[in-house]
């Protein structure tokens, strides 16, 4: 008989956020208890799994914050962000001066470069330390919000264009490592197998 699968997104979320010392044991424990609960009522078990996921992440992040572990993750995130910012600056200059001097082409290429940079940055941060991706996503979100706030883009653009930067940038940072991991291992999103 096929075992009940816990919510894949919750597993991925825990896998991305929980620091190395707890990760494997914690996720294994949750999957084990979920499989015991899922025999009776799967929707209730899924709700229980999500509740445990959210509360566990909050507990662990708070514990990391108190013990000072976050300093290392934050430093890595800042380091990666500086690298991303430099790459983005060079790419923007290349696009605007060499590839596409026209404003319209730049407006199309800029988000593509931004999302690619965010995705690569997320993968690099995750490779160094998983917990750093969350801080990197936060830094990207704050920076984009600040840039929108000070109206750094001289060309008038629709609200959804800026909103896209604000949401998709942090999402690319968080999701790209999971996609790369799933492609590399073939089973990253199927923890029960």
């Amino acid at each position: 008989m096929r075992r009940a699968q816990p919510p894949a997104f919750a597993c991925w979320f825990l896998d991305s956020v929980v620091p190395v010392p707890y990760r494997e044991a914690l996720l294994g424990d949750l999957i084990e208890e979920y499989s015991l609960r899922a025999d009776s009522a799967s929707p209730i078990a899924a709700r229980w799994f999500w509740s445990q996921t959210c509360r566990s992440v909050a507990s662990i992040l708070w514990s990391s914050l108190c013990s000072g572990d976050w300093v290392v993750s934050m430093s890595i995130a800042i380091g990666v962000y500086i690298g991303m910012a430099m790459f983005k600056l060079i790419a923007d200059l290349t696009i605007s001066k060499v590839l596409a001097p026209g404003q319209a082409t730049y407006l199309i290429l800029a988000p593509v470069v931004f999302l690619l940079t965010s995705a690569v940055g997320g993968c690099v941060a995750s490779r160094i330390r998983r917990g750093a991706t969350l801080f990197l996503a936060l830094i990207v979100m704050i920076t984009v919000a600040a840039l929108i706030g000070i109206k750094v883009c001289a060309t008038p653009v629709p609200w959804w264009y800026q909103f896209g930067f604000l949401c998709l940038g942090p999402l690319a940072v968080l999701i790209a490592p999971a996609i790369v991991g799933a492609v590399a291992s073939g089973d990253a999103l199927q923890p029960g197998e």
Binding site: G28, E32, I60, E193
Partner: protein, 110 residues
């Protein structure tokens, strides 16, 4: 009594749960033991964060078990109480007992 030997409430409960379970236990068993005995539905993350802190203090030790299919191929991390942990439990219990013994606290008035 050293200052570091005083346990927090969750540390105290988790150490007691581990001591009750005898031998070694992993996070899920500790969590279920606490839930069954106290009715507190604590998160597995809180259990691990506390166990990690207790391990740093030298009160518990851990070792990795074998990965099993029902855990999605993930290994267990088994914890057991060390002698210093048992001592800390005794000190903590003694402290609570000495604070409550011969007290004429009227709980209804607090």
């Amino acid at each position: 009594m050293k200052r570091g030997e005083l346990l927090g409430s969750l540390e105290h409960i988790i150490l007691l749960a581990l001591a009750r379970l005898e031998g070694s236990a992993h996070g899920m068993i500790v969590r279920r033991e606490i839930e069954e005995r106290t009715g507190r539905n604590i998160s597995i993350g809180a259990v691990y964060a506390t166990l990690e802190r207790l391990e740093r203090k030298g009160y518990v030790s851990s070792f990795t078990g074998e990965p099993t299919p029902e855990r999605g191929g993930r290994a267990k991390r088994l914890f057991r109480v060390e002698a210093s942990g048992a001592r800390a439990l005794q000190v903590s219990e003694k402290t609570i007992r000495s604070m409550t013994a011969d007290s004429n606290i009227r709980w209804g008035n607090i």
